[in-house]
Symmetry: C3
Subunit: 207 residues, 3 copies
C-alpha cells in the first residue's frame, strides 16, 4: 500500500471519527452516528472527485464506507470513555486536514490541473468534510475560530506540490506535506498559534 493510499484511508477514518464524536455531542442514535461519520469521512474526497469529473471513490471502492460505519460503531460504544470529546474532534480533524490537503492536491495534479489549482483543491477538500459536519450539527465551523486552520491545509498542499515540482519522489513529498500540515494545525490546537487576523479600525467600522 502506497503512502497515498494510506493517507486516503487515514483521512476517511479520522474524519469519520470526528463526525461520530460530534454526533455523540448531539446525543444522536446509532443510525445518526453512521450518517454523520459517512458524510464527514467521505465529504472532502467526494467534492474532489466531482470537481475533477472523476468517478466518486467510495462508489467504486465500498471499503471506505465500511471504514466509516466501523468508526461510527466504535465511537458509539466507546465515546463515554473519553474525558474531553471535543479535544479528540480537534485532533482527528487535524489529521484529516493534513491527509486531505495532500490527497486533494495530488488528485488535481494527476488530472492535469496546474499548481495553483492543486493547492486550492487541497485546501477545499481538506476543509469540506469538517464544514459539512459542523454546519449540519449547528457547531461553530472550526474555520471561524482564531487558531490557524485553513493555514494547515494550505501549508500541507503547498509543501506537497512544491516538493513534487522540485522533483522529490511522491512518497517523500506526501509524507512531508502531511507532516507539515499536521504540525501547523497542531500548533494551532496545542499552542494557540494564530496568524495576524483582520482588525477593524477602532471607531470607524460600524458593521
Amino acid at each position: 500500500m502506497s503512502i497515498l493510499h494510506f493517507l486516503d484511508f487515514l483521512g476517511v477514518a479520522v474524519f469519520a471519527i470526528s463526525g461520530a464524536l460530534v454526533a455523540s455531542r448531539k446525543e444522536m442514535d446509532l443510525i445518526g452516528f453512521t450518517l454523520m461519520a459517512s458524510l464527514t469521512g467521505i465529504g472532502g474526497g467526494t467534492v474532489r472527485d466531482l470537481l475533477l469529473g472523476q468517478d466518486v471513490f467510495w462508489i467504486k471502492t465500498p471499503y471506505y464506507l465500511g471504514v466509516c460505519l466501523l468508526m461510527a460503531f466504535i465511537v458509539f460504544f466507546t465515546a463515554h470513555i473519553i474525558r474531553r470529546r471535543f479535544v479528540v474532534v480537534l485532533w482527528a480533524d487535524a489529521l484529516g486536514i493534513a491527509a486531505y490537503s495532500v490527497l486533494g492536491a495530488e488528485v488535481a495534479l494527476l488530472a492535469g490541473a496546474n499548481e495553483l489549482v492543486a493547492i486550492v483543491m487541497g485546501v477545499m477538500t481538506a476543509t469540506f468534510g469538517g464544514l459539512v459536519r459542523d454546519v449540519i450539527c449547528l457547531e461553530t465551523p472550526l474555520i471561524l475560530r482564531k487558531e490557524v486552520y485553513a493555514t494547515g491545509a494550505m501549508v500541507g498542499a503547498s509543501v506537497y506540490v512544491g516538493l513534487g515540482f522540485m522533483g522529490i519522489s511522491d512518497t517523500w513529498a506526501a509524507l512531508s506535506g502531511f507532516s507539515a500540515g499536521f504540525v501547523i494545525r497542531s500548533g494551532g490546537i496545542a499552542l494557540g498559534w494564530t496568524l495576524p487576523t483582520y482588525k477593524p479600525h477602532p471607531g470607524r467600522n460600524y458593521d
Copy 2:
C-alpha cells in the same frame, strides 16, 4: 407509469411542499417560495445523479421543476388554512424520505454499485433535500431531533435492496421499501419512537 416513476414525482412534490412551508414560516415572498421549493424538491435527486455521474434528472425532464413551482404557488396561497404548518412539514418530509430512500438505492444499483453503497446512497439522497432546506432557513435540522429520522431512510433502502436481492419484483420491492420507511418515520412523528441514543457518562464528559 411505473411505481418508481410515481415515487419520483411523489418525492419531488412532497419535498417541494415542505420547502415552501418552511418558506412560509420565514414569511418569504413568492419567488423565495419557488426557490426553496425547488432546492428542497430536487436537492436529493440532484446529489444522487451527480454522485453517480448521470445527467441531472430535472435538466433532462423539466416537468419536475414545474411540479416544484406549482407546489410553491399552491402553498403560498393556501398555507394560512393549515392550523399547524410544522406538522405538515414533518409529514411531507416523511413521505419524501420514504420515496427517496428507495429511489436513491435503485439508481445506485442500476449504476452498478454494490448493496452497501446503494443503501448509503438511499439514506443520503433521502436526507439531503431536508438538510438543505433547514440549513438555509436556519431551522434545526430534523436529524438533530430525538425521534427516528435517518433510521426511516435506512430501513426503506434496506428493505428495497434486500427484497430485490432475494428476487422479489421491482414493483413489490419498491412498494415494500417505501411503506417500511414511511411506517418507521411515522412512528417517530406520531408516537415519538426513538432508538437508544448516545448518553455521556455522568460526571466524566465535559464537552
Copy 3:
C-alpha cells in the same frame, strides 16, 4: 472580450469581495480570507458546471482563482477604510447576482436545456455563492431578509432568456438581463423594495 466573459470575471470578482468582507467581519486571518473569497467567488459557477456535466471553469482557467486570491489580499489590507462593510457586501453581492443570473441561464441554454430550466439555473447559480458564504460564516442568509433578493436573479435570467428567445443579439440580451437584475436588487437594497410576503392568518397558525 465578449460581454459574457466580462460578466463572468465581474461575477467572480464581486462575489470574492463579498466573501472576503464577510471574512473581515469574522476577523479571520489572510488564509481564511482567501478560502472565503474563493468559495464565494467560484461557488455559483461551480454548481452550474457540475449540474450541466461540464468541466469546472476554474480548473480549466486558473485566472479565476487568481482573481479570488487577489481580491482576498486587497480586502484584507483595505477593508478598514470602508465605513460600513456590510453595505459593501450587499452591493457586491447584488452585482454578482445580476451577473450570474445571466451566466447561469446562458450556460444552461448552450447545454441544450429548455427556457424554464435555464431561468431556474440562473436563479440557483446566482444565489448559491452567497448562500455558502453566509452559511459557513453563520450570517443570516440574504434570502431570509425581507427585501427582493431571489427576485433580482429571476428577473435577470428571465430578461436574458426572453430577449434571446425573441431573437435579440446575445450581447444586448446579456446587458439587458444584467441591468434588469441589478436594478431590481438595487431597489431592494436602497429603497427597501419588497414583494408581498406570506402572512400567517392571525390567530390560526401556531407554528
